[in-house]
């Protein structure tokens, strides 16, 4: 006679305690990592007065991260703009409301897709590369060498990368906004017969300054988050090449999660608090 055991029965007391313990420990580790990253961010802010000295490095980083990501980002925005227009357009057509496509695509891109796509591309391409670069430097004792020469790694390595990302993100976002809307407008006019002008008017009708600037502000926060996480993981890399791979992976995963959480909070703030005040 076989007896079926429930999950609870199989889990004796000590497993339960262990499970709680390990979840607790993982949470504590996350929290302390987050705290460490936050301290790095604050430390970077303290280095801001020394920005002028880092200008050449900042421009170099902007070139690396901003310009290099432009094409991929534009392509992705263009494709998603068209896909979205195709999907929503077919529904709108049923109500003869295809002339409102501009409002829908415009609002989605300016408020959400522009900053989000820019963040995704940046964290995957640039954040990961930053973590790998700084991780390799840490493993090769280059960061220690800087410290011993009295060169502050936060000023020398983190500040230029952080500023480059914060400056590049809104620029990339604007481009994603416009290219995405352009893709949408193409579909609207060629597939659903709603002319270009109509698309633009409809977009303009719904989008205000608040949408535009809050989107850019979001993208700057995303940039700061990505740079902070990438630099923190990079600088604290140990264990050779294996460690570099680990830091790179962790950077991508942690940045996606943190960017989404920050997005949720900022969107809530804009829609629930700022919007009623401004309108």
């Amino acid at each position: 006679m076989s007896r079926k055991t429930t999950l609870f029965e199989r889990m004796d007391h000590s497993t339960g305690v262990k499970a709680v313990e390990s979840v607790g420990r993982a949470a504590m580790e996350r929290a302390s990592l987050g705290g460490r990253a936050l301290l790095l961010f604050i430390d970077t802010i303290y280095q801001l007065p020394k920005t002028a000295r880092s200008l050449p490095q900042i421009f170099r980083q902007i070139e690396i991260c901003g310009i290099g990501s432009l094409f991929v980002l534009a392509l992705i925005a263009f494709l998603t703009g068209m896909i979205m227009a195709l999907q929503t357009g077919s529904e709108l057509l049923k109500f003869g409301a295809q002339n409102n496509l501009g409002a829908i695509i415009g609002a989605t891109f300016v408020r959400e897709f522009g900053p989000m796509w820019a963040a995704i591309i940046m964290l995957a391409r640039v954040g990961a590369a930053m973590a790998a670069e700084l991780g390799t430097m840490a493993v090769n004792e280059e960061v220690d060498a800087l410290r011993v020469m009295n060169i502050n790694p936060v000023r020398f390595l983190v500040l230029p990368r952080m500023l480059a990302l914060i400056v590049s993100m809104p620029l990339l976002t604007v481009i994603a906004d416009y290219v995405g809307m352009f893709g949408g407008a193409l579909v609207a006019s060629y597939v659903y017969g709603s002319p270009f002008d109509q698309f633009l008017d409809s977009a303009r009708g719904i989008l205000g300054n608040l949408d535009f600037y809050s989107g850019l502000a979001k993208s700057m926060v995303f940039g700061a988050i990505i740079a902070t996480i990438a630099c923190d993981r990079g600088l604290h890399t140990t264990d050779g090449a294996e460690g570099v791979g680990r830091s790179t992976n962790q950077t991508v995963v942690a940045s996606v999660i943190c960017v989404l959480i920050a997005n949720l909070m900022m969107t809530g703030f804009v829609q629930q608090i700022l919007k009623p005040v401004f309108e």
Binding site: M137, A145, M149
Partner: protein, 285 residues
């Protein structure tokens, strides 16, 4: 039987007195350091005499790098003190403020094991880095000082000035690392395993260079290594780090004749003896 208990070993290796006519630059007293429950340094007592080259020998994982990182001001001891007596001031590394540490590091040059050059920068930028970033000297002055430093380590400045580290051989990278360490004319130079991972000819070159710099610059050097051959070439005095303590120290001739069985095993390279037992017990911890 050449087995000794730890207490006997310590009794056999008292702190070598610093000769009366010489002054110590660095005084390490009762230094303890643990990482978690692993006790790496367990009561280090060590003097570095001004102007000497002191080589600290020790097996893998014996805590050599950890000791050196204390001397860089990158680690603080759990217990004990590290005093540095410069001609004009005395500093306590174990409780130095940020400003004191900065002042100390201005007089310090460190040669890292893998040279630790920045890969995105040329040789000129690497060697000139502290001059540009810390002392903010104008480019022309930096250029001249970099050329001088490269000449001191016998590198063809004209050929390699604009190369990136990846384009250099291991021996050249090491020399560039040394040039970067001496470009600020330090009073104290720390070497972490200067000859590890290099071919025998390059090793001799680096050894000769170390000796040569010693004579010409008159600096104090601390070298950590497990290369016994190199130690006897470059050292004035040799110390041995074992199980977290300095078990033997002395001028290199005295060191060669040191009665401690651990030292003798290291010198003869025998597989029989206390070092092997420690290894079999799971490393010298």
């Amino acid at each position: 039987m050449n087995q000794m208990t730890r207490d006997q070993m310590e009794a056999a290796a008292p702190l070598a007195a610093v000769p009366a006519d010489q002054k110590s630059l660095i005084e390490i007293r009762d230094l303890y350091k643990s990482f978690g429950r692993r006790h790496i340094l367990r009561g280090i007592n060590l003097d570095v005499i001004r102007g000497e080259t002191l080589v600290i020998l020790g097996g893998s994982g014996s805590g050599k790098t950890t000791l050196l990182r204390h001397l860089m001001g990158m680690l603080r001891p759990d217990e004990g003190s590290i005093a540095v007596h410069f001609a004009d001031s005395t500093m306590r590394l174990d409780r130095a403020s940020h400003a004191e540490l900065d002042a100390y590091r201005d007089r310090l040059g460190v040669i890292f094991q893998g040279a630790a050059l920045l890969n995105s920068m040329t040789v000129l930028e690497n060697v000139g880095l502290p001059l540009v970033e810390v002392r903010r000297l104008p480019p022309q002055v930096v250029y001249e000082k970099v050329i001088v430093a490269l000449q001191k380590v016998y590198l063809p400045a004209g050929e390699i000035l604009h190369l990136k580290p990846a384009a250099l051989s291991g021996g050249m990278r090491k020399r560039v690392g040394i040039a970067r360490a001496i470009v600020q004319e330090p009073e104290l130079i720390l070497y972490d395993e200067p000859t590890t991972g290099l071919d025998p000819v390059t090793v001799s070159g680096v050894n000769e260079l170390t000796l040569d710099l010693q004579k010409r610059l008159g600096v104090t050097s601390v070298v950590i290594t497990h290369d016994i051959h190199a130690a006897f070439i470059i050292a004035d005095r040799i110390a041995m780090l074992y199980k977290g303590r300095i078990i033997a120290i002395g001028p290199k001739d005295e060191f060669r004749a040191h009665p401690n069985p651990v030292v003798q095993q290291l010198l003869t390279g025998s597989t029989q003896g206390p070092l092997t037992e420690a290894f079999l017990q799971g490393q010298a911890t």
